[in-house]
Structure formats: C-alpha cells, structure tokens
Symmetry: C2
Subunit: 410 residues, 2 copies
C-alpha cells in the first residue's frame, strides 16, 4: 500500500502573518508519548500551562486556559458565552477580522452595532468612547492587531472607558499576543483571546483565552452541567439565564474541566498542549519585554530594506502593527506570480490579503520564531531578485545594505 | 527561568476507552516542520487526508474531512448544521453520549424527542423504527459505540429505515471508527462523526466527519460567505434558510476551505493534520478487515483472562462493544484505589465511568495502537496482583494462562 507516501514536507521560510515557523523544541514536545487526560502528570501540565498563560496575558485572572480549536474557536467561545440573544454588542471594524467578530456576534443572536474606519487606519480612542456613550452596548468586541491590514488598535483608554461604564470588553489579540504588549489587567480588558500560530509560534490548534470574574459571573448565570454527568443536585434550569448555544465552546463547562473539579468535557488535546506548554516556556525564558524588543528590531530592519528597494508601504504609519508589514504591489506586477516564485525558487512564503485588498498588497509577517535576522535578510535578497525577474526596476543591492545597517546598530 | 521544567511525561500503558497510546510513526509526523496553510504541498496533504478518510468511513461521499477540534466538535458541527430551530430530532439514549447528543441538539434549538434504554443494553432496530413512525422527526441522531457502558448499537436496519422515510440520520461513531465496522454507505448513514484518540490512535484534536449530498443540500440552503470575504455576488440572506449558529463549526464554510475553492476559514491545524494523515496511512496499510480482526482477537484474550480471574462483566453480552470491556468492581473493593495502584506501580491506566455507573464499573479499552498482546497480558498480570493486594480472593495465575490459550490459538 504505497499510494500515500511518507510525510516529507519541504523546509520553508514562513514570513506570513501566520502560521509561522515553529521552534524545534516545540516540534519535539509533540513527539513525546501521550498521557491520559486525568493522569496526575497530565493535569499538572494543564495547571502549569494556565500559570504560564497568566504571565503571557499579564493578568492575575483565575482563568487562563486554551480553548481546543484554532484561534476563532477562542473568539467564538468568548462571544457565545458573553452574548445572550438580544444583547447589544458594539463592534468597531477596521479590517477583515472586525467583520468576523460581527459575524460571530450576529450568530449568537446579538443586536450588533458597528462603527467602521477605512481599512489601513484604526480608531481614535475618543471615537470608540463616543460610540459607547451613544449606543450603550452590553459588550464591546474589538480586534487588537488586524492582520488583514497590518494595523494595531490602542486599547488602554478604551478598556478603562468600558470599565467606568460597566460595559464588558472582549479583545481579539490573536495576532499580537507574545509579539507586542497585551496588558490584560492594566488596560482593564475583561476577556482576551490569543493565537497560537502567530507570535507564540506554536502550530495552529489551540486558542488561549483569559477572562476575569466579571465575565465569569455572566457565564455562571448561564451554566448547565451536562445531562449525562448531572448528580441530581443542580439548580433548576428555570432559575438561569439562557443557556450558552454551544456545548463544545461553553466556557462555563470548560472552566470546570480546567479547574480542580476536573469535570469531564472533551478529551484535552494532549500533543497540542505539550506544544503550547513548550511554546510558553520559550516565551517566558526569553522574557516578554525582550521578545517585544526583538519583534521591533526585525521589523525595523525589514522596513529599512523594503524602503531601500523603493517599495511603497500600505496603511497609516502611526498605527502600524509591528509584526505585519504591508506593501503595495507595484504597478504592472502580478502579485501572485511573485509569491509563487518566492515559494518555488527560494522556499519563502509571504501572504496576499483579503476582500478589498486582494491583489493589491503583500503582507510580510515577522512573528515569533520566524522573526529573526536570517529570515529577514533571506527574504529581502529573494524579493529583490524576484522583482527584478518580473521586470521591476529597483536599486539592486540596496535592500540588504539597509537592513545590515540596522543590524549593525545603525 | 527554570520554574517550568523540561517536558518529561512517563511512559504509560493506556487501556482506557481513549485517549490511547499513539504509534511512534504518528508522534514523529508531528515533529516535522510546518508548511503554510495554502502551500501547495499542504493542500495536497489535505486532499490525501480526505481520500483516506473516505476509505476509513467506507463511503463514496465527496465530503470527508476533519473538523478542527476534539470529537464533540465534530458532533456539534454536524448537528448545528443539520438542525434548524424547531426541527424535530429523535435521539435514542442508552448511555452518557446519547445525553450529549440531546444536550447539543437542544442548544441548537431542536424539539428533541428521546427514547431510552437501561444503561448496559441497546435498542432493537424495530424499537427505533417504531419511534421514527410515531414521531416523524426531521433527524435521527444516535450513538454507534457507547463508551460509557461498552455497548454497540446495530445501525444497518435503522439507517435503511431512515432513508425509506426520508429522515436524515447522523451517527456518533467516535468510539468505533477504525476499530469495528462503520459502513457509511451500505448502512445509509447521512452523516458520521469519527474520533481521533480512540481506535485511530491519533492524539485528541481532530474530529473526522463525512456526509452525503442529502446533508450538503441542507447545509447549502443555510450558507453565508463570511462578511469579510464577500465578493458582492452572493445571494441575499432573505432567500436563505436560518443561518448556522456557529461560525467555527459551520460545515458549509468548512467545505469551501477543504474544497478546490480554498476559501479561508480557520488556519488548519498543521501538526494535527500530519498526525491524522499518518494515523490513516497506518490504518490503510493494516487493512480495515485485518484491523477489525485484531481488535476482536485482543478482546477475546482480555475477556478470557478477566473471566478466569472470576470477575463479573457489566451489561448485555449480545451488544458488547469489541473495543471496551466493562467489569463490575467487586464488592468491598475501592475502585479508585485499584486504579491508582495500577497507575502508580505498573504505569497502566484503566477507566472508571460516569453518572449512574460511577464507582460501580471499570472500563478497559482495547483500541488502536493500545490494542496488542503485550498490553493485554501486562494488564491482566497487573490487575491480578493489585486485586490480591486489595484483599480480593481469586485463582492466582489463571488469568494469564487463559489469555495465553487464546493467543496460542485455543
């Protein structure tokens, strides 16, 4: 039976906004034999992971654990737990992933109010605060780092304004966690969702979330113990708020599984948890501040190189997201042909974008393990060669010199 | 920073109904560097996985792919896609996981009708067919292998009866897929959900599903393209059936991601997919029939050994699930103390059970990679020693002799 060959993926330099390359230590962690889900060694690993996640999210929250799914499973878990049908949800939209928040909130039965900014920019905090006062929503849901446009939305003022008004705020920090500061407690964020396969550099498959007791109160009011596990002492349903519409993503049940009660829900993703734990160890060993500085350094070198090549950057510079750099595809160049040649000849992957930006910009990620000097220099040299190959005129050799200037302390 | 040590899980003999031990080839597959999600090498891996899943499910269905989550994510994806609010769903319940189907269906807004059997037995097909005629549901949702009680529900007649009546049938085959026959097409099953961490012996994290065009028609009538990805040519919402209430588990969007359109949804779980692909290769290399026969052989040896030890089996023998063997905890023995000693002294894990069976039975799995002669013999010897240690009187030495008789062809 040789119809399906041995797995033999090519080695890639992955410079997209995720998924990105994975540290060999994390890859190795996944190759360990598994433990049973209630094995004391495994529940200890679950507890250690929660402890490390609190540091990552910069929070003293009791609850910080991964939802077992890709990033949007964490977003949906938070929104479906917080939104009861008819709740008013304010969503500021400045790129694709704002629309995703809208879509999920609508499916949860929310009355959604959106405010929008042209793609490539973000909101002034005052604009969002004004909308809070105008619409008085139950929940504000907002994207921190928008990978579709490469922008970052400042959240400190918005978070505090929500707290003052007793409005819950849920933040999609999928693209930013582990790469740029996400200060859950200092910014008064009630629920935050991080991503695994971006700045944490763990393979896609888990969505770390954290939430505080304001969120937990809301969840507990909607909680049901699973029918097949009930002990007969539960409070009757009629005294509860409407049930959470997903069982798989029900945070009120998930926290009983992650808490000391260990009430069976799903079977925890053993190997993915090994990977997440190792990825978190790497983050904490490096140090959050040092990690953020590393991301800034390589962004600086990349941007210097691209500028020296004469390429135009997309979007408002004042709100550029450190870990995603967007460049306009030059006039007359076929963006997909450039991406294919980069992949086929140089083994480098960069990204295109979505919706209105499809075919107009390239997006280059400098995230996590992929964010290093070798990758940045490799990419700049390759992109220059491929652009020349596509007939684009540019100052040959300038990009790498400009980037080296940065690395040599220029 | 040495607060969190190197990952160093103990090696366990895992004889539970899942998660079970993982073949080193599958563990190795997860340690390969990752590819980007739209890398042609990766989409080829996605396609190969679909092809192998069709063989596993014994179907010619177009759609067979993993949902990115643990088993119940696949169940919820199927139910939330098939159930519109107010739809009538019939659920025959004969153990814990029937209640899970009920709970998920209720959260989808179904009018749920249940019929129940005492735990430890299953339904006569005629009983279910009578209920179909009495209640005339839109959907029948039923568990194939109930791990909580170790029973298997025959489905061939029930599936055909549903087809004759134009009622959809969705089957939870989480515990059975890859261990006992699941004949999707021959039994006229419209949607089937398999499990990764049981007889497939892949770590928990993916839920393979398959469904036919009857299901697809229902999904397409409810489909929406994600707001941030719309091209402006979509059919207006008002002409559609009610939207699927989950975005993450929306099969109508997932099939656009798994299909040639490759419309971005989540970021596929790279390393988990590597694992699933390798796990499927192992299944097909062994051969489905040979694999089923292996599961029967080791069950026979285990049962012979336990019987020789004088232990009582739980449940109706005529519907025993090959891959889970349930035994009554003997009078006066503390079941959890026995389980702890098995784990701490012998590195063997067996399971307790849920709800009304908690504290009353042990459940021993013989699934996938864990289902082998070494494990069965190791377990029987260890269980005998631990029971003697707990003051239980039994014919010492008989269990291993009885099992060896089976392996020697007795």
């Amino acid at each position: 039976m040789k119809r399906f060959g041995d797995l033999a993926p090519s080695l890639r330099t992955i410079m997209t906004p995720g998924p990105v390359e994975v540290d060999p230590r994390v890859l190795r962690a996944m190759s360990f034999p598994i433990l049973g889900q209630f094995d004391p060694e495994f529940t200890a690993i679950m507890n250690e992971t929660m402890e490390m996640l609190r540091e990552l999210f910069q929070t003293k929250n009791k609850w910080a654990f991964p939802v077992d799914g890709t990033s949007r499973s964490g977003i949906e878990a938070v929104l479906t737990g917080l939104i009861e049908p008819g709740d008013k949800v304010l969503i500021p939209i400045y790129g694709r992933f704002g629309y995703l928040l809208q879509e999920i909130a609508q499916r949860c039965g929310a009355e959604v109010v959106t405010i929008t900014k042209p793609w490539g920019s973000v909101f002034e905090p005052a604009e969002v605060i004004e909308a809070l006062d105008l619409h008085q929503p139950d929940l504000l849901a907002i994207v921190h780092g928008e990978t579709s446009t490469g922008r970052v939305q400042p959240l400190a003022e918005i978070g505090k304004a929500c707290r003052q008004r007793d409005i819950l705020i849920a933040v999609d920090a999928v693209a930013t966690i582990g790469g740029v500061p996400v200060e859950t407690d200092a910014w008064c964020l009630d629920a935050v969702i991080g991503g695994a396969q971006k700045c944490l550099s763990v393979p896609s498959g888990m969505a770390p979330v954290t939430y505080n007791e304001r969120v937990e109160r809301k969840l507990l009011a909607r909680k049901r113990v699973e029918a097949g596990l009930q002990s007969g002492t539960e409070v009757p349903d009629e005294n509860r708020r409407p049930i959470i519409q997903s069982n798989y993503l029900d945070l009120s049940q998930l926290q009983d599984y992650w808490g000391p009660q260990r009430l069976n829900h799903h079977t925890e993703m053993t190997s993915m948890l090994y990977a997440l734990r190792e990825g978190l160890r790497l983050v904490l060993e490096e140090g959050l501040e040092e990690r953020f500085a590393r991301h800034r350094l390589h962004e600086k070198a990349l941007v210097a190189g691209l500028a020296a090549m004469g390429l135009d950057f997309y979007g408002d510079e004042s709100c550029k997201l450190t870990v995603v750099t967007c460049i306009a595809i030059p006039e007359g160049i076929d963006g997909e042909s450039v991406r294919s040649m980069l992949l086929d000849r140089f083994g480098i992957e960069i990204a295109s974008s979505f919706g209105p930006l499809k075919g107009k910009i390239w997006r280059i990620g400098t995230m996590g393990f992929s964010c290093n000097q070798k990758n940045v220099l490799h990419l700049l040299g390759a992109l220059e060669a491929v652009l020349i190959r596509h007939g684009h005129s540019l100052p040959a050799g300038a990009a790498l010199q400009a980037a080296l200037e940065i690395y040599e302390g220029g």
